[in-house]
Amino acid sequence: MSLEAAFADEPAFVPYLAAGDPSYEASIEYVEALARGGADAIELGLPFSEPIAEGTTIQEAIVRALDAGMTPDRYLEFVREVDVDVPLVCMTYYNLIYQYGESDGPRSFVEAAAEAGIEGFVVPDLPAEEAGPLRAACDEFGLDLVFIVAPTTEGDRLETMKEQVSGYVYVQARLGTTGARDEVSDYTERSLARIADWDVPKAVGFGIKTGDHAERIVRAGADGIIVGSALVDIVAEGYENGDSTEVVADRLEAKARELKEGALAGAPVEQ
């Protein structure tokens, strides 16, 4: 299934987890639990030792995954092994994509990721102006390239992104590093207004914690919601308390269901 199709019928729920957090085996179970809970696509983080300006929640997840032995090759194995029938999007930093394999530039990694079953990329530290080589590699192997639009994104860069984006656009609803928030930001509507004429689905992320948030964001016009920290928190808590993989997977599935149902509740009623 293509990425865009994940948004076709109803508001999409797109969760994020760091692959391999807190262990390879548990993480496979967790990702599968999210799919059971109603995920329409999954952003699967490929941990990088130097994430820039990530919130502490995600940073700690990355550290746990790296400590447990996650590497780009293990990640590709993970993608092949995990049993879900929704598209997987690789979220990682440009350095990893760029340094992988023999090719000069991103081509080797994009090829390997496509072979393993990845459908698209989100790369937070890739400047839109420098996205050409990655866009070309994604085109060559039939992958989507998602861009993040922040409240501070303006002018030429907004245009550059619009020209290159595919799959969906990741709308960061408020300033700030990733961290679950108690309130839904009023940036949502304004952010969506600025990209109203983009012809890709608009997924809003950063700060969504509950089904209620999800509902309000979809009501404000989002085609989908992206949720990271609130889910990573569940993994972290389970890890710290020594809870079994099963118990944590059940909690994730329940949270996923709550978020998906919230998103559905915010959808315009069909006449």
Binding site: E50, I52, A53, N95, Y98, D125, L126, T152, R157
Partner: protein, 393 residues
């Protein structure tokens, strides 16, 4: 440098989307300021009357005789605050003020940059927060006291190695949250564009002055310029004025820690001369290997990366970088204290050690060293290293 802030392929701006536009605006503000006479008047006035510029160049007679070379020091330790850092904090502080920012944040290792930021925060009435690794708070305690006295909040960073690199991470996160009213006053020629070129511009006063001063004193340009390289601000500040002087060799002293082969150092250029570099803290540059433990006796130098322009200067062969061990730096620290009556900071002690090495190799007759900071902050470590505490019998 290319207009996009790259140097022979190094550098650039690799930051999360929320920072792209604010950094583009900062770059525009900077470009405007350096074209403005009013900005330079204000900046130069403060450098002179507040900072104490120009700092002198000093001929080190004893060392020169001992090593049979003419050794000169750019006395940057005499700048207000005790290190070269104020040149940069004044420049960026003025920019921040002009842009209407209300708050400064900074990372610091040795505490010199944090102190220089806190001074400018007090001077220009900007709220100041300094991120400092817990390890560095312990070994550079005196600077923590200074920052607090100057009215800054010092936030302890406890993640990872609890050092300079982690302090940069914490400051970047703060910036993402608060970019509307906050200027991140980066302390070295590192990070995403425009920081490396901004820091170079404001530090280049070191080399401009020194180039004239040494010609006056010595009658000629030096054969070699030497500076220590943490992130690379005092070194780029010295090198910049000599870049087109083909007969002047440029040397950077990297912190070699316990030796390059020990796996405990912070010398990315010496370790990875032939690698193609990676993206680190917002720019493409050289970084120490994953399995190298980031370490230096000097808190201001133990940074795993280096400013992108230095990676380019190494690649093009314009500058040479060598690793100086903790032990060599400490010996130079002691030697300068005893021979010239100047106690240097641990950071420039690396440059002094390299200058001595070069003099012994007998390739250069005249060597100009950037003495970029004074050693007061290192007294506690020095007392331990050299057993200076009197024992009661």
């Amino acid at each position: 440098m290319a207009s996009d802030g790259t140097y022979a392929g190094y550098g650039g701006r690799h930051v999360p989307e929320p920072l792209e536009e604010p950094l583009a605006q900062l770059a525009a503000g900077f470009e405007e300021a350096i074209e403005s006479e009013q900005f330079w008047e204000e900046f130069e006035h403060l450098l002179e009357h507040y900072g104490g510029r120009p700092t002198p160049v000093f001929y080190a007679e004893t060392l020169s005789e001992r090593y049979d070379a003419d050794i000169y020091f750019k006395h940057e330790d005499l700048l207000h605050g005790g290190a070269h850092k104020l040149n940069n904090t004044l420049g960026q502080g003025l920019l921040a003020k002009q842009a209407g920012k209300e708050r400064l944040i900074a990372e610091t290792g040795a505490g010199q940059h944090g102190t220089a930021t806190a001074m400018v925060g007090a001077l220009l009435d900007l709220d100041t927060t300094v991120y400092m690794g817990r390890k560095d708070i312990q070994r550079q305690e005196m600077n923590v006291f200074r920052m607090r006295l100057l009215g800054a909040e010092v936030r302890s960073v406890t993640r990872g190695n609890e050092g300079l690199a982690e302090a940069v991470d914490a400051a970047l996160e703060d910036l993402v949250e608060n970019v509307d009213d906050t200027h991140y006053l980066v302390g070295s020629a590192v990070g995403p564009d425009p920081f490396p070129r901004m820091v170079r511009e404001f530090q280049s006063v070191i080399g401009k002055e020194a180039r004239e001063q040494i010609q006056e004193l010595h009658g000629d340009l030096p054969d070699a310029c030497v500076a220590c390289v943490g992130g690379g601000s005092n070194s780029i500040g010295l090198f910049d004025a000599f870049r087109d002087d083909e007969d002047v060799a440029l040397y950077g002293a990297e912190p070699g820690g316990k030796g390059l082969s020990s796996g405990k150092h912070s010398a990315p250029l010496s370790e990875n001369e032939d690698s193609e570099g990676e993206i680190y803290q917002g720019a493409k540059t050289k970084v120490i290997d994953d399995d190298t433990e980031n370490h230096s006796v000097s808190a201001g130098l133990d940074y795993p990366g280096v400013g992108p322009e230095h990676a380019a200067l190494q690649e093009t062969g314009r500058a040479e970088y060598r690793a100086i061990t903790d032990e060599e730096a400490l010996a130079a620290f002691r030697e300068l204290s005893e021979s010239e009556g100047i106690i240097p900071a641990f950071e420039p002690s690396h440059a002094i050690a390299l200058a001595i090495q070069l003099a012994e190799e007998d390739e250069h007759d005249t060597i100009l060293v950037n003495l970029c900071g004074r050693g007061d902050k290192d007294m506690r470590s020095a007392a331990e290293q050299f057993d200076l505490t009197p024992t009661s019998e």
